[in-house]
């Protein structure tokens, strides 16, 4: 049988087996491989805030089984953004006008409205690849690279995650590291922080010889930002029905962390009214924000999946904290309710609460010294996000599954902070942001 002359012994073996079992010739085996080689996943997200940003985001993901426990995962994303986003200024009873750093793209805000920047439109393309391979007896490596580009932002990154199984594969230790390098090139160049925002109607838009001249303002060909992250985790199978995971992550960002489009209004210390710009071209005084150039963040993340007879509950909790004094809690709960016949409903609730960054200000006060850092970006303030939604999923045939979800998200914060001055007391300085999230997705196994 040391194959110098390969031969089929199957016939003889089958005959011998029949004799052994004392039965008639058995039926021929019928077994079809129901595993898959390629799995294709696609989704379309529609995100729309009331009166603000709208995002349409198709994603496609392909995962290939290359045999020998090697897998490759490819993902492509397009993200089309439109609409308007709060620029950090406070409402006023006067008409307000804002421009980009070199006076381009100006927009006007009616009185008593929360200033929203409608020049938000952008389309982003992103691609990522993840390579999974067993490295040794109990260790698997996941190596990834990703790339993302949009008009004013480019990001490239690599990541490596390594898992080690032990305890009869009931326990898995995970360690991960990721680096990314981002380039931020806002149109007109990144503005110098705490400089005045051009607001005159005659803001120098027509005078520009071209944006190239201004790229030097914020730095040669754009700003950069580097992010390094580490993750350590343990996954444990607790019982036949339960699995849990705890992760600790730490990351540091350094470089340009400021948002080049966000600003703060300077207001009169008594009336809370707008004040004239120091630059005679500027009607009112707004300053570009400034954030620190480093940020260290950490999180503790806990997840548990538990299966009842057929239904499954998914619960996660994350506690996050950083050196900007932001602390947050996130609780996410989903319940998969099986309807039988291969379809299911999955209600979802998410509750998020964060405390403000230590340089978050609703506005700056004229006459007071400008703080070291300041931002009025509402996303850095004391805030609560509540999301509630429902997903419906169904398996169609042997190969495919689709699901559809609709969710409602609401963000709210302190609308009337103690520090509001004069007229500002009459305004909602942290209006609720409400959004609907719709997603349809389709999964196909070849």
């Amino acid at each position: 049988m040391q194959l110098k002359k390969p031969k089929s012994i199957r016939g003889a073996l089958a005959t011998a087996t029949c004799a052994l079992l004392g039965s008639q010739t058995p039926q021929p085996a019928v077994a079809s491989e129901s595993g898959t080689n390629w799995e294709f996943d696609s989704a379309l997200l529609y995100y729309s805030e009331k009166d603000r940003v709208t995002a349409v985001e198709p994603v496609v993901n392909a995962r290939g089984d290359l045999g020998n426990d090697r897998f490759i995962n490819l993902r492509f994303v397009v993200d089309v953004l439109s609409g308007a986003s709060a620029n950090g200024a406070v409402p006023s009873d006067r008409t307000q006008t804002f421009s980009g750093p070199s006076g381009q793209k100006s927009y006007t805000v009616a009185p008593n409205q929360t200033p929203l920047d409608p020049t938000f439109e952008d389309t982003r393309f992103a691609a990522s690849v993840l390579w999974e391979t067993p490295t040794s007896e109990n260790v698997t490596s996941f190596l990834g690279a990703n790339f993302s580009t949009e008009a004013d932002y480019t990001s490239i990154g690599v990541s490596g995650t390594f898992t080690y199984d032990t305890n009869n594969k009931n326990t898995t230790y995970t360690a991960g590291v990721a680096f990314s390098h981002d380039t931020i090139s806002p149109e007109g160049g990144a503005p110098d922080p705490f400089t005045e925002v051009p607001t005159g109607l005659t803001g120098g838009g027509e005078d520009d010889e071209g944006d190239d001249d201004h790229e030097g303002e914020g730095g040669e060909s754009g700003e950069t930002k580097n992010v390094t992250e580490f993750l350590f985790g343990i996954t444990q199978i607790i019982s036949r029905q339960t699995i849990t995971q705890i992760n600790y992550s730490i990351g540091q960002s350094s470089g340009y962390l400021t948002d080049p489009y966000k600003l703060l209004t300077v207001v009169d210390p008594v009336t809370g009214d707008l004040v004239p710009g120091v630059d005679p071209n500027n009607t009112y005084r707004y300053l570009y924000e400034k954030r620190p150039d480093t940020r260290t963040r950490q999180s503790l993340y806990w997840k548990i999946n538990h299966q009842f007879t057929d239904d499954v509950v998914y619960l996660t909790y994350r506690y996050f904290w950083d050196d900007w004094d932001i602390k947050s809690h996130t609780v996410d709960l989903r319940y998969r309710y099986e309807l039988g016949q291969h379809h299911y409903l999955q209600p979802h609730v998410r509750y998020y609460q964060q405390t403000a960054a230590n340089f978050y200000h609703y506005f700056l006060v004229d006459g007071e010294p400008i703080p070291q850092y300041a931002s009025a970006d509402y996303r850095l303030g004391d805030m609560t996000t509540t999301t509630i939604g429902l997903l419906y999923g169904a398996q169609v045939g042997k190969h495919s599954e689709f699901n559809f979800r609709a969710e409602f998200m609401k963000q709210s914060g302190e609308s009337h902070p103690a520090e509001a001055i004069g007229k500002l007391r009459n305004y909602d300085l942290f209006p609720d942001v409400e959004a609907i999230i719709l997603q349809a997705s389709y999964n196909y196994n070849f």
Binding site: T161, K169, L231, L300
Partner: protein, 72 residues
């Protein structure tokens, strides 16, 4: 406040631990199903992570890497 949450989480895990016996390979049938994976809907998670990364000050927790964007 934080400590209370952490203690609670730990307690839940330890409470389960009392009934910890190593789970035998043939008892892991349920874990092979897609709905019991740690992340049964990875695209949904990716999209959600992107939304909340853009709209809140916190991010991550479940994994590392995945790319940046100009949304925050």
């Amino acid at each position: 406040m934080v400590r209370i949450y952490l203690a609670f989480a730990l307690l839940l895990i330890l409470a389960q631990a009392c009934s910890w016996q190593p789970v035998k390979p043939w008892e892991r049938d349920l874990h092979a199903a897609k709905k019991m994976q740690l992340d049964p809907h990875p695209l949904e998670s990716y999209l959600d992570e992107h939304i909340y990364f853009s709209k809140e000050a916190s991010s991550g927790g479940a994994g590392v890497g995945g790319g940046g964007c100009g949304c925050n």
